[in-house]
Symmetry: C2
Subunit: 113 residues, 2 copies
Amino acid sequence: MADTEGIAAWLRRGTLEYCVLALLARGTRYGVELVRDLAADPALTATEGTLYPLLSRLRRTGWVETTWRESPTGPPRRYYSLTEDGKRALDRFRHEWVAFRDAVDRVMGIDSR
Amino acid sequence: MADTEGIAAWLRRGTLEYCVLALLARGTRYGVELVRDLAADPALTATEGTLYPLLSRLRRTGWVETTWRESPTGPPRRYYSLTEDGKRALDRFRHEWVAFRDAVDRVMGIDSR
């Protein structure tokens, strides 16, 4: 049985790809920006070692597409943006998430925030 | 990559044991009562085939203990109740859950219910 640390990591692992889609829904980003945005929240924090394989998977799935752009300060950067399929996947997840979250809150006896 | 059905099932799998602990925190129950309480919520619904192995695991972990009681209508029933360790595990999960849930809500742009 996983301890609480394990549970938090496990929940994070299952939702991280959708959190990345949600960040990209706000606008195109490059990898380092995504790591920084995710690191801003201790409950979601992801290392580059986790994020880059995840971005590759999202690209193969067709939920994310990439373009190279010049950088003002160094080598070109690979920018990630959401595809139409990615937007649909995010909408489905959002819907499922709210239902699941509310169900867990109800069982846990957590009424509101 | 898991589809949305997969994601919902996956989230459920990781939290189900804590949902069972939360139900037992409200009072001692026997297996059929737990299945019925969980089935009341479509986002959490668990079959007996899922629940009984989970209850055995919780018992081996020492989070749940059992007693046999006479039933008015048939064979004796095995009742499950929370141990002190189980209460602590539930408290830890509740704490982690709120932090995780709020983080996902923030990234998803879901402010309140």
